[in-house]
């Protein structure tokens, strides 16, 4: 079930109308009524009137009618990968993702919408309509979201894929039923929220239901169960809401680029291994958020990139701090006088360490090199950092600050390259410019000022889920 090059992910989304009646004083009746309604929905999903529409295509499939389709060359035995040729691809530009053919981890996602056919084949002897009044009761009506994914080989038949999708829908309804019953408060039903998390191999994409009225901090025991179930170490979050998998066709609402390094070709060093940041960060740089920090804000931007990593891995819930908030944190920590706030003063690795501690409760290690040429010898330490902590590293020295996202290092030859994210970029969120002009790129040891001294801030990953 792990994602690999020949795999395709099918994702079906839509909604189902949930409706039941409760007697407010009778808890058992309420539970039975809710379970019955979920059962009705599980039956509904197997009805002949259920239709899948392949998004952005003229293909409509009836999964419970042997995959009858609106397009001639699509049937139950057609390989599911063939569906792609019916899809009209949208052309995103600007801040969207441009798929280069050689990008690693290309995830093919085929999105489907759940629809209901209201027309029936019969033309005569139709049972004429009637109107029926139901007496007053405590009615619970909710539109339940559905969002199921399966991963499959591209040559698997459409018939099998549809069967699996229907099975996944039923499973998700059962998960929602469990969560709802567990977290009912009187006659109030929690709204189920659906998340998908990308777990390390061999698990792949996994779906989880959370009750909307319970925060992450209160769901720790549930997450512990999930960690056990999927045999994951309990030292990093995988199942916090912030860890939700971002599908390739869903642009990030905040407009920041995510992981531009994934679009680069990695260097071809003999005997070298790659040690990269683990997880998702956003690219923060000069001039963003309508703040003109050209010339002094580079360390602030690197710090923002680091904070974004902690937020998106689910370690913290607070948003990425602004320049002012960073400065205020330094004042609050006693590191700077009050007049610091609102100034255009440069900060260094020590300040980055203080702010990470003050705002995010994150400790960091400081690495010092007395001259830039020494950085070439720090391969092992940096490699270890990326392997165990996996956090982005802020480096300050000379008059510049940068973010190190990884190293390519050969233990035998000692050769090294650094994956650098440059906060000095002043342009827009244009992935092509950023990757082609080296604003995110691999640099050699000569990138550093060989005489200047450098401080590196290496944030430590908290051990929690």
């Amino acid at each position: 079930m792990a994602p690999s090059d020949s795999n395709v992910i099918f994702r079906v989304r839509g909604s189902l109308e949930f409706s039941c009646w409760l007697e407010s004083s009778n808890v058992l009746q309420s539970q039975r009524s809710i379970s019955k309604s979920f059962n009705d929905l599980r039956s509904k999903v197997r009805e002949e009137s259920l239709v899948f529409n392949i998004c952005n295509s003229p293909v409509f499939l009836w999964p419970n009618q042997d995959c009858q389709a609106t397009v001639g060359n699509v049937s139950a035995s057609t390989p599911c990968g063939d569906l792609q040729k019916h899809i009209e691809v949208e052309d995103w530009n600007g801040g969207g993702k441009k798929k280069r053919k050689d990008k690693k981890n290309v995830l093919t996602v085929i999105s489907l919408t759940l629809m209901t056919e209201v027309t029936v084949p019969a033309e005569e002897n139709l049972p004429a309509p009637y109107l029926s009044t139901e007496k007053k009761r405590h009615a619970l009506n909710m539109v339940l979201p559905v969002d199921c994914v399966i991963s499959t080989a591209a040559d698997e038949s459409i018939g099998i894929v549809c069967e699996r999708l229907i099975g996944a829908l039923c499973c998700q309804l059962s998960d929602m039923e469990k969560v709802v019953l567990q977290h009912m408060k009187g006659t109030a039903m929690p709204v189920p929220q659906l998340f998908h998390f990308m777990l390390p191999e061999p698990n792949g994409l996994v779906s989880v239901v959370y009750p909307a009225n319970i925060s992450d901090s209160q769901l720790e025991s549930y997450r512990k169960e999930l960690h056990k179930k999927y045999e994951l170490a309990e030292d990093r979050p995988y199942f916090r809401r912030a860890n939700a998998f971002q599908f390739p066709d869903q642009p990030y609402k905040d407009g920041y680029l995510r992981n531009p390094h994934e679009y680069l070709n990695h260097p071809n060093l003999e005997g070298a291994n790659l040690y990269l940041v683990q997880g998702v960060y956003s690219y923060h740089h000069y001039m963003q958020d309508r703040i003109n920090d050209n010339g002094w804000g580079c360390a602030y931007r690197s710090l923002q990139t680091i904070c974004s990593w902690f937020q998106q891995q689910g370690f913290v819930e607070r948003a990425v701090p602004t320049h002012k908030e960073i400065q205020q944190a330094l004042v609050d920590a006693g590191d700077k006088p009050a007049a610091f706030v609102g100034s255009c003063q440069w900060i260094g690795s020590i300040e980055v360490q203080v702010v990470l501690d003050q705002l995010l409760n994150v400790t960091s290690k400081i690495m010092f090199v007395s001259q830039g040429s020494e950085l070439a010898t720090k391969g092992r330490e940096l490699a270890n950092h990326f392997e165990t902590e996996g956090t982005p590293v802020m480096i300050g020295g000379g008059v510049l600050a940068h973010t190190i996202l990884g190293v390519a290092w050969s233990e035998s030859s000692g050769q090294i390259r650094y994956l650098i994210l440059d906060p000095h970029y002043t342009g827009g969120e244009d992935l092509q410019t950023i990757t082609e002009k080296g604003w995110c790129g691999w640099k050699g040891p000569d990138f550093w000022d060989q005489q200047a001294y450098y401080n590196l801030c290496l944030p430590q990953r908290p051990k929690m889920i």
Partner: protein, 448 residues
Amino acid sequence: MGRGYVVEAVLEKYFSNLEAGTAAFTTGLLIGQSSPQRDFVVLSTKTPQRGTEGSSGSLEDVDTEWVTEHAKQVSRMLPGGLSVLGVFLIVLPELSKEAMNVLRKLVFAVDKYLSKGRLWDDTYEDATERVALQICSKTRKVVCKTFDVKDPKSSAKPADWKYQNGVSFNWPVVTCSVGLNLHLPVSDRSSEDKHKCIKEGLQRWAKRIIASTCLINGKVMAQEAELVTGSKKSPKLSQQKLQAQVLLPPTECQPELSSSVAAQPSASVLIRGQVSCRAYLHSNKPKAGQAMEAIKRDIMNTVSCRVDMLFDDFFMNQAEERGAVEGQQSLPLRVFAPVPEAGFCVCDYMFPGESVSEAAEHFQEMLDCSITEESIISGLEVCRVEPPTPTPAHDTGVSREEASSHLQMEAPKDVPKKQRSLGYFVGAAVAGGVALLAAVTSLLYLGE
């Protein structure tokens, strides 16, 4: 550059017969279909008699309320694609000066009344011009004008009126059968409130129908694609029948308004069953998008009008103390009937226990159309629910005289339970509540 009206030749004879009458004026409705380039008029029907016309010979006797109620009843009998396109007025030469003013008033009143209570709104593609046809009963001269009903200051624009044979032959027809399984929360304070809640629920359902995907003959078609392919040169082409399938998109989940939903005490109404739907397209290069819109509108209209009929019937019979609309009630069944010498069907609704003979009478009264009982297609929908226990009056046959005595506005005790003549409906409007009464009243005050 006015609109062009292509009119079924049979209508010329219909007007001749009316012109030969002795009345000072005759009003009536023009029925047909609009297309972007021109309109097709395929049926006309004079306004039914209301009581004994104590005709003063003046146009002040034109009964706007009666004409609009007639238009509403007629529009319930039209499948998708067809609608009331305008009004005609046959007048003596002495009255011709005022005629166009009267027509203007009628055209606006009819459009306003028909738009009320509809589950869908006109789109920008819908024609807003309605036709006003003035005919001189002596000279038979025809003056054809249009008014833009969306512009209250609209003046009469000239339009072409041209007779042609076989206008509606070879009109393509789109059909489907729709399953209903609606669950609507309602207030049970009163039947008026319940009706209002049901209408609101139907409006939400209608939004989904409008947003739905419509397949034609099992395929996705582009809105602009031409519906009828193949050569149109052969005049004996059989009518093209198209099957529609309607796929509803998922209901939108409320964007996390609240993190939990509490049970609310509420009564609810279920509407279940299957309805037969049909829409006609014109023969002037109709587009797939028009077909989809026409069949969707027919679906919405047929459900809405049956619910209205149930409540109209209830309000009319309130005097007989039948109590609230409760329990399980059958909605009327739909029957279709081909119009003689034309290429389309009209439809009617029958409550369980009614027979096709009543439908035939209804066609005669409302559409001035002689349709035989045998030609009425009545097996499409079948009532599965036992009709409610008939009142004693129901069992007595309706004599011809009683059937034609639809003159009273109040509900006399010996009127059979489900009589559906025009007077009956105007009575229902009066009895049915403030809202309807206000609507009728406001129409009477329509000024220039």
